[in-house]
Each structure stands twice: as C-alpha cells, then as structure tokens.
C-alpha cells in the first residue's frame, strides 16, 4: 500500500470535512434555536464564495478586505432572511415545513440573483497560498492548509464563545427551552437574529475558504446544502459536537472511498449513509 498516497487522501478528506463541519454547524445553530431547516444556507455559502472570488479574481481587491466584505454581506443576508422570510411564518401551524419551503424559495431566488449579477460561469480564484507543498513525498495544496487552520480556529472560537460568553449561553438557553428563556428576560427576536447572523457567518467563512479549492458558481448552493443535510442528519439534528465529528468524517470517507473504491461515486457515499441513518437511527448517531 502506498502510504504517502493514503496520507494525502486523509488530509484531502479532512480539509474538505472541515468545510463541511463549518457549513453544517450553521445549520445546527438555526435548527437548535428555531427548530427549522434553512434551505437557503447553501446559498449563503455560495454568496460568500462568489463575492469573495469576484472581488479578488476580477476586481483585484485585497484578500482580507474581500473576506470582510463577503462576511458583511453574508450577515446582512442572514438577518434579512430571518426577518423577511422566516419570522412572518414562524410559530404558525406546520411552520417547520412552511419555513422549509419558504427558505427553498429564498434559495432559488438567491441562486438566480447570483446568476443575474455574475453570470452562470464559474469563477476561479487563486491566493498567495495556492501552491503545493510536498512534505515527505505527499502533495498538499497550500489553500487546504489555510482552510484547515482557519477553519479549526473558527470552530474552536465558536465553541468557546458558545460555552463561555453570556450571549452564547443565551443562545444555548433559547435552544434548550424557549419559554424559560423568555421568562428570564432573554429577547428571543434578538437571539434569532444573532443565530441567523452567526449561521450565515459560518456559511460564508466556509465558502471563502473553499473558494480557492473548488471553483465557485451560482448553482453550487444545492450541492452544498445536501452535504449539510447529510452531516446534520447523521450527527443528529441540533447536535453541535456531533456535526463537527461527522463533517470531518464525511470528508474523510468520501476521499478514501474515492481513492480506493469508485471515484465517480465518491459523493454518493454520504447519501447512502444518510438514508441508512434516517431509516435505522433517525435521531442520529450522537445524542444531543
């Protein structure tokens, strides 16, 4: 067995998995707090990647400035989505499905808005890190190292913030018991807005980090959201740590399967696992 190749696939898979985890955590935050599934989350990712790529590759904007702009736009889209699309139907009978469909409408809207703005062509972006390093006979793309390091740092910061800060605890409290949260004086509308803002930041961060690795196009939202569904379902809806572990594992399994079994069905593994989990352990592999 070629161990260098294996190590390379492991890194490749884990770095993809880091992006899946970052992305899926945003879905988990919204599901945890509001109990709904935000289908437009994939388009939040797409918007982040597209704005960043467009600014850097076509407008020649500095990397950091482009990332900040993408994040700012992402937060605004997230908060507006909550205000205009989710809140008007939130709490009504069968709002879980209604919000699913409404955010599906939002996702169709955003995907085609992006096409109108940028055209349907993919945008490629290269960064100063877009080079290949070869430690010990394995080839690793610099952008993937950046993804792994920044992604890991963001996840760590997020966990710290959620468990240590008062605002993070308020988010947790709202997720555990909404009525109690209101009775201790937590402003739920504010928590919802923060939750959506936070989720879109996470989607945009993963979009930015993946932009130099995958090419970005306005239609990639659905493919990404499906990864997010796989991760959250397999981990158990609303499970934070589980989503990180499953996200990393999904990337890893895809890479290994692609290398050693059938590369064209790499993406299918996740769907297969999701279906099996839904059928046999619908509450997910990790308890909340």
């Amino acid at each position: 067995m070629d161990w260098a190749l294996f190590a390379q696939q492991v890194f490749y898979g884990l770095s993809n998995g880091m992006a899946y985890a970052l992305f899926a955590i945003g879905l988990v935050v919204i599901f945890g707090i509001l109990g709904i599934i935000n289908v437009a989350h994939g388009e939040f990712y797409m918007m982040g990647a597209m704005i960043f790529s467009w600014l850097v590759a076509i407008q020649g904007v500095n990397l950091v400035v482009a990332a900040v702009i993408a994040l700012a736009v992402g937060v605004i889209i997230g908060i507006l989505s909550n205000r205009l699309v989710v809140q008007p139907i939130y709490g009504k009978p069968s709002f879980v499905l209604a919000t699913f469909l409404a955010t599906l409408g939002l996702s169709i809207f955003l995907a085609n808005l992006a096409t109108v703005v940028w055209g349907a062509f993919p945008i490629n972006v290269t960064t100063p890190f877009s080079l290949v390093v070869r430690p010990g006979g394995i080839a690793i793309a610099g952008d993937r190292i950046v993804l792994f390091v920044i992604g890991g740092a963001v996840l760590w910061l997020l966990m710290q913030w959620m468990s240590k800060s008062l605002l993070g605890k308020q988010l947790q409290a709202a997720a555990q018991d909404a009525v109690s949260a209101r009775l201790v004086g937590i402003n739920l509308m504010r928590v919802y807005a923060i939750g959506f803002g936070l989720a879109s930041v996470l989607a945009v961060v993963s979009g930015i980090l993946m932009a130099p690795i995958w090419t970005s196009n306005p239609y990639m939202g659905p493919l990404v959201i499906l990864k997010g569904f796989i991760v959250t379902i397999v981990a158990g809806m609303g499970n934070f740590r589980g989503a990180i572990i499953v996200g990393l594992l999904l990337g890893l399994v895809e890479a290994i399967f692609g290398q050693y079994v059938a590369v064209q069905y790499r993406e299918a593994v996740g769907y297969g696992v999701m279906i099996l989990v839904l059928l046999f352990k619908p509450e997910g592999l990790f308890r909340r």
């Binding site: 409290a173 555990q176 209101r182 009775l183 201790v184 004086g185 509308m189």
Partner: protein, 235 residues
C-alpha cells in the same frame, strides 16, 4: 402595583380567561387557587407577556404592560417561576443562575446575588457545577426560584412550587416564601393546587374556575367559605 382589569384570553376558539380582574399590592402575598385547567398558568403567562390577551388591561406601577414583550416585563421586575421548573437542563446550576441575571450588566452585583440565593438554598451552593437536569425535584424547584431571584424581582409569580415535592421539602419551600416576603419585601402571586398551603401563606386569595374568578377575599374568609372548603380543602 399589579392591576388586572377585565382580562380575556383565547387559545384558538377556547376562551381560557373570562373577564378576570385582580390586584396585587406592594409586598403582598396573593394566591390563586383552582383545579387543573382552570386557567391559572394562562394568567401567569399573560402577565409575563408570553401569551397575549384578546382584551383587557394589565397594569404594573401605573404602566400598561399587556402589549410589552416578555423581556421588558422581566426588566420591570415581574419574574415568573413556571410550573414544572423549566430549567436549562444541559447547563450547570451556576449558568442557570447567571442566565437569571442576564438583563443585568453588573457582574459584581451578580456575584453578590448568587451569594444571596445560596443563603436561601444552601444545597445550590454545593452543586454549582452540576448540570441542572441531574438535580432532584426539590433542588430543581430551588434553582428555579433562585434563578428568578437573580433578576431582582419586585413581584414574583410562582406557579405550583409545591408540585411533586415531598411534604418535608414542601415545608422548607413554604418557609423560603415567607422569608422572601419578610426580608426582601417581594410581592408574590402564588398559584397553587394545594389550597391548604396557599391560604396558610397568603394575605388574600382568588379562586379561579374555568377561566372566571368565582370567589375572592382575605385568606381567612376563603378558608371559611363553603365553596373552598368543599372543592379545595376536602372538608
């Protein structure tokens, strides 16, 4: 202080509260007794701003509060301890208490406040880092009251604090309620099914039946009323 006038509340087509009027004065302990489904919890939830009334007025220190969002009502000093405790089960005792004070920015004051809560409930002091969901029923009730105290209430709404507690612990809880009144001057609106306990503690009381107040008066008067004796005291 708290004045409720002709309050009506609906759940869909169900008329849960019908023209309810009552008053709680400064430092007073008022009890609301009634059987399951009479609308007691609905009344508390309406005062707290969780449930919006269809008509009527809730006034607090001269301000109308029935249209205010719940967090504003908490910041005005009306804090509820809901039925069944409703803690944040996956957070520690300390975190639950901290969240109780989430509207106050003064951390020094909050630390002092935690001391105060522990002076009422010593057990909580020993369990600060335990998850709230793993506490015993009595401890959970203590934590629920402690969490409410963290917000420095002027009016405490207690929903069935004795529910599911052993008689001994129930007696402790009654003592705490007396102390809160005496030492802190907190007004209390106590909802209870246990009418004995409630009328023993209260200055005045109201009896709620299917959404309407049927009898009201001083605790002594209610203890001697035929209806209360028959329906709630089992005499």
């Amino acid at each position: 202080m708290l004045k409720i006038n002709n309050l009506n509340v609906h759940y869909g087509r169900v008329h849960a509260l019908k023209d309810v009027s009552l008053e709680v004065k400064d430092g007073e302990l008022v009890t609301l007794i009634g059987s399951n489904g009479a609308g007691k919890s609905t009344l508390l939830m309406t005062i707290s701003g969780i449930k919006k009334p269809t008509s009527g007025v809730v006034e607090w220190e001269g301000i109308r509060i029935d249209k205010l969002p719940s967090h504003n009502i908490v910041s005005l000093g009306i804090v509820q301890v809901p039925e069944g405790r409703h803690l944040f089960p996956k957070m520690t005792v300390l975190e639950n208490l901290e969240l109780g004070a989430c509207l106050s920015k003064d951390t020094g004051w909050n630390k002092q406040n935690i001391q105060r809560v522990c002076s009422y409930f010593e057990v909580l002091g020993q369990r600060m880092n335990q998850l709230a969901g793993t506490l015993s029923g009595g401890e959970q009730q203590m934590l629920a009251i402690g969490r409410a105290l963290m917000a420095n209430p002027k009016l405490l709404l207690l929903d069935e604090p004795s529910l599911g507690l052993a008689p001994l612990i129930m007696e402790d809880m009654a003592q705490v309620i007396r102390d809160l009144r005496k030492e802190e001057g907190i007004a209390i609106l106590l909802v209870e099914q246990n009418a004995h306990l409630a009328l023993e503690l209260a200055d005045r009381g109201f009896v709620l039946e299917t959404g309407s107040i049927v009898v009201s008066g001083t605790a002594d008067k209610l203890l001697n009323s035929k209806l209360v004796k028959k329906a709630y005291l089992g005499l």
